[in-house]
């Protein structure tokens, strides 16, 4: 080692020690705030867990017991049979038998029922007639699209079976003589098509974003609102010390939150961790830093905590739309697809889903990891510069 190098170390050492001391002092102060303002860390740590618990719980069970209303104008064995078959799918439960359209319309308007079945008077007649074309009008409440889709799926199953039976009857064949077309479907990664396996990893990724973004965005806006930032700025801090000191609690709490949420979905909803846990944790840490940068920028822009919160909501919602969680990115217009690719949360969700459900490693996920690294570097550099400029 050259003497000059040694000299540099020795002269810089005391400076970096006082720097470290100031950073620790500010991080310590942040933790005292958290200790005294208990709802804040409670929300940061357990808000996400609670949200995941509710989402997982609500989506982990199949949709059953949709209220259905029946107007049976035929009152025949055939009409009773179709109603019984529908009920036997477990998707529906009879709300009422009625004898006029007004009651049905009224019940739909009020949202009392999801489905109404109207059996025409000549239903059994047309089934019995070898050239008859029986129809079965069914009204679905499309305002609630998820139950409506579940109802549609159940109804299609029932009517397909019925149609097959009528065809066989008219051909005079017995079901044993007939082989129909059966597609051989196999679902990978989520064999039972359990919806919770889709929703909870995505929510897990999003909750990490939201927690970090919100927490970081309050860090400076809070001091501004309370007038304490002025005091910090007259102190012999460098802006970097303030930023690092403020970031430490966000990083710690955000990371602990992620581990808690991950354990919860793993234990409560059997979400598997098929890939490398270490890789997931490392990437979660990296992603957390990206969102931290965004949060800090929001924090310097906002004058109050209220403003910061609203900005987080706005940014969070835009990110949410482009993650591909609500609607697949592939179905979006080209420009929106491009935009989705510069939303870090989009790549992050692909990584979470890839590692948890598909057991994918870096060999497969590298485009997303690379994208996240590039976006992270750009956002990080910009945030650091911007926040430092604003503080100086």
């Amino acid at each position: 080692m050259s003497p000059i190098y040694l000299y540099t170390i020795f002269t810089c050492l005391p400076k970096s020690i006082t720097m470290l001391r100031r950073i620790i002092a500010i991080a310590q102060k942040e933790f005292i705030h958290l200790r005294n303002d208990w709802w804040m860390p409670a929300f940061m740590l357990f808000g996400g867990v609670l949200e995941l618990l509710l989402v997982g719980w609500a989506t982990s069970r199949p949709i059953t017991n949709l209220p259905i209303m029946v107007w049976d104008q035929d009152q025949s064995a055939a009409s009773r049979e179709i109603v019984t078959t529908l009920i036997n799918t477990d998707t529906f439960v009879i709300e009422d038998y009625v004898s006029d359209m007004d009651t049905i319309e009224d019940a739909l308007d009020r949202g009392d029922i999801n489905v109404a079945v109207i059996i025409p008077p000549d239903y059994s007649e047309k089934i019995a007639d070898p050239s008859g074309q029986p129809t079965l009008p069914i009204i679905l409440n499309g305002a609630e699209s998820i139950p409506a889709l579940a109802a549609l799926r159940a109804i299609e199953g029932v009517t397909r079976d019925l149609g097959e039976r009528i065809t066989l009857q008219r051909l005079g064949m017995s079901p044993d003589e007939f082989e129909s077309f059966i597609p051989s479907l196999r679902v990978w990664f989520n064999e039972a098509l359990n919806e919770a396996l889709y929703t909870t990893p995505a929510e897990l990724g999003l909750m990490l974003e939201f927690t970090v973004l919100l927490f970081a965005s309050l860090s400076l806006s809070r001091e501004k609102e309370l007038g304490t930032l002025e005091q910090l700025l007259v102190m012999p801090f460098s802006s970097l010390e303030i930023i690092i000191g403020k970031a430490i609690p966000v990083i710690i709490i955000g990371f602990v939150d992620f581990v808690l949420m991950l354990s919860m979905v793993n234990i409560a909803f059997d979400v598997p961790i098929r890939g490398s846990l270490l890789l997931l944790l490392i990437l979660a840490f990296g992603y957390l830093l990206v969102e931290l940068g965004k949060g800090m920028v929001i924090s310097v822009i906002s004058r109050t905590q209220h403003q910061a919160f609203l900005l987080v909501m706005l940014v969070g919602m835009v990110d949410f739309m482009f993650t591909g969680y609500a609607a697949p990115v592939e179905g979006m217009p080209k420009a929106a697809q491009f935009f989705a690719n510069i939303v870090p949360a989009h790549h992050w969700l692909e990584i979470v889903r890839g590692i948890l459900l598909k057991g994918a490693g870096l060999d497969v996920l590298w485009p997303h990891v690379l994208a996240l690294a590039i976006l992270g570097t750009i956002i990080g550099t910009f945030s650091l510069r911007y926040v430092r400029r604003a503080l100086d």
Partner: protein, 313 residues
């Protein structure tokens, strides 16, 4: 004595408004300097500029021998700045606030305990040291804020209206502390809306619309006022006020509650004449006396004159 603050044409613009306009200040080390002026005169902006919180729009300044524009980081350890509004951490206890400041200003561990104890005693906060700052009274909060700015023993203190909204007893205590610091040699610049406080300063600068209009000792400022002061306690102050304005020899009339303060060209000569005029016009007065001019009257008179000049333009 050496200058601890020197400004030449110090100016701060907010859009087109000159909040501080060409300030030439020269404050010597060891002074207790009062910055007075009506609301919006630019006192707070001046102090914030000197603390390095705002960028200078025009002019230049040196604080503690460092250039304010280019070496503001080097100035920071040399000053203690106390903002007008409470700007400590309300959720931290008294002691936690002090220790936080000590950490930031790099107070050495071996001196820390002694200094904290001294400041707590000094501010009368020893028995409240574990109480959260949010739960202190307004006066105690101000004293805590002052203690925090003193933890690194800065040679220069910038205090922005430290006693506004504080009860008279706490106000007096606060000023006793300031006087003590002043005696120890700390340079203090304090802005205040209270004229009795201005009277306690070694020098006072009066700001008006961003400009420093007068900068002198309280005694010299009072001497600038033309005439002598006569204090009148009338039974019907409104009628007395109307009459007083028409009397010969009366230069200016100020009301002070239901008391009238008259500035006359010659106190000794006019006292009897004015009393007579009141009696002649049937306005009874319970007492009338010659009184020494205080900063309060001087200040009002000066501001009035300035306002007249401004509106004349």
């Amino acid at each position: 004595m050496t200058a601890i603050i020197e400004t030449q044409g110090l100016t701060r613009l907010y859009k087109d408004n000159r909040a501080v306009d060409g300030l030439d200040l020269d404050i010597q080390s060891g002074e207790l300097f009062g910055l007075v002026g009506p609301d919006g005169a630019g006192k707070t902006t001046t102090l914030r500029l000197l603390a390095g919180l705002l960028f200078i729009s025009e002019g230049s300044a040196t604080v503690a021998e460092f250039d304010l524009a280019s070496q503001s980081e080097a100035i920071k350890p040399n000053i203690g700045y106390m903002a007008q509004q409470f700007s400590l951490y309300a959720e931290l206890s008294v002691l936690e606030n002090l220790l936080f400041f000590a950490d930031i200003y790099d107070v050495k561990k071996d001196k820390l305990q002694e200094r904290v104890d001294r400041l707590l005693t000094f501010a009368g906060l020893t028995e409240f040291k574990d109480r959260r700052a949010a739960h202190l009274s307004g006066g105690m909060q101000k004293k805590l804020a002052l203690s925090c700015t003193l933890i690194h023993q800065p040679p220069l203190l910038l205090l922005d209206e430290p006693t506004t909204g504080v009860d008279p007893v706490s106000r007096r205590e606060f000023w006793n502390i300031l006087t003590e610091l002043h005696m120890e040699g700390t340079t203090i610049i304090v802005s205040t809306p209270y004229m009795d406080e201005a009277d306690r300063c070694s020098r006072v600068g009066l700001m008006y619309e961003g400009k420093l209009v007068i900068c002198d000792t309280p005694k010299n400022i009072r001497a600038q006022l033309k005439g002598d002061l006569i204090e009148v306690f009338p039974d019907d102050w409104q009628a007395a006020h109307q009459l007083a304005q028409t009397l010969p020899g009366v230069l200016e009339v100020q009301t002070y509650g239901e008391t009238l303060h008259l500035f006359v060209d010659d106190g000794a000569k006019q006292l009897k004449a004015i009393e007579k005029s009141f009696n002649k016009n049937g306005i009874s007065i319970s007492s009338i006396r010659a009184a020494p001019t205080r900063m309060e009257e001087a200040f009002i008179s000066l501001i009035r004159r300035l306002e007249d000049e401004t509106s004349a333009k």
